[in-house]
Symmetry: C2
Subunit: 240 residues, 2 copies
């Protein structure tokens, strides 16, 4: 990889590759956390959920390590222009990964509550599909980052719309369940939290992909897609 | 202020003061957005809510300006140690302010929907109290930042618990309303979103205060307070 660059300072390249490797490691842990959180919810497996909660610590520690490393690189190498942009992107990407990890942990927490309630038909299957989509988006965003592949990053950004649509469909489904039977209200509130947090994970993956586009092209992708949550503007929901 | 510092490079001090002034300006806009969003919800004032949504653009633009300025300072002045920490904190604080602004905008969006539904007794008053608490926390966090006052920042961090408690009380209240009458479900879902987002604003204010503590003391405050949302662990909610 170093050969392709045109820097004078190859020490900078080595530092950068090292911290990028930490990003990939952190990304792998977060991908696992997303899937394991959704699996434990579907399987109603309290033990697996507990593991997701425990593993979040390793993700947080990696973020701190990456922050320290990035600050060290800036202080030591005084990078400018594109090199500085590369180091600053490391900070942004790790912050987004940390938030996604937090949401996975929160999902796992709610599994502990939901196992004590009657299951809501079909909900955890839909939630797992959403989580799976987000995990695949994250995988591609990280691949796009390492390969500096703006096209793949744009693809990830577009796929976030599908996640938003899944969320909006679930929101409506939960409302229906709650109206049908008041006993569904408490579990549906928790399931809705999980859906909303998964949708937010998608937003954070999108932010990672946007960083990649910015790194490669120097341009921030179109702001269009930023209407994250149509339930707040959707007229159909105002028909009380 | 410059006199108190012991830097050689006073150009750095001037740059830093300038970007800190932008932070304060951004913070002022965000404080206004929080209050105006809560006021428009309470007054059911669609026009005021529209203004909050429009004003969010100025907040986003300030964040971009601050990001560019911070990158320029790093590239130009190559700060190290505490100076670097100061510049990096600018990036983190502006990112938190931008998120708080987004939540205020989201609150204003939901006002547009809620005015079309029957009001839920007492809810908007409680929400306004929560928003007011968060706005005062933000004001103090920004004062603590400018005055490098770790004690005031710690006070802000502790006050976030009150906001969490207000949120948890509201969560229960909304559940009760929903169970009493299915017609309350849709408005309560929106009101609950607003409560949750206000609670998240408090988390972002806390993150700003933590940056201040870190800047002044070199230590990250205790992780204890990070259990942000007890509804995901609270046994009382599992009694379906």
């Amino acid at each position: 990889m170093t050969e392709k660059h045109h820097h004078i300072a190859s020490a900078f390249d080595r530092d950068l590759e090292e911290v990028q490797a930490e990003i990939m490691k952190m990304g792998g842990l977060v991908e696992n956390a997303i899937l394991a959180a959704a699996d434990s919810l579907e399987a109603r497996d309290e033990e697996m959920a507990e593991k997701v909660r425990e593993n979040d610590r390793a993700i947080d520690e990696l973020e701190e390590l990456i922050n320290d490393e990035a600050a060290r690189i800036i202080a030591l190498r005084a990078p400018t222009a594109i090199d500085l942009r590369l180091v600053l992107s490391v900070l942004k990407i790790s912050a987004n990964l940390e938030r996604i990890g937090d949401y996975a942990k929160n999902m796992a927490k709610r599994t502990g509550i939901l196992v004590q309630m009657a299951p809501i038909e079909g909900a955890t299957v839909s939630l797992k599909r959403m989580a799976r989509d987000v995990q695949l988006m994250l995988k591609d965003a990280l691949d796009a980052y390492i390969q500096r592949d703006a096209a793949l990053a744009m693809d990830v950004i577009h796929r976030d719309r599908d996640v938003d649509q899944l969320y909006n469909a679930l929101f409506r489904e939960f409302l229906t369940f709650m109206m049908e039977d008041p006993r569904n209200i408490t579990p549906c509130m928790h399931l809705h939290f999980i859906a909303k947090n998964t949708e937010r994970m998608g937003d954070h993956v999108t932010a990672v992909a946007e960083q990649v586009v910015y790194l490669v092209t120097g341009e921030v992708p179109d702001e269009d897609r930023k209407k994250r949550d149509v339930t707040s503007t959707d007229a159909s929901l105002s028909e009380d």
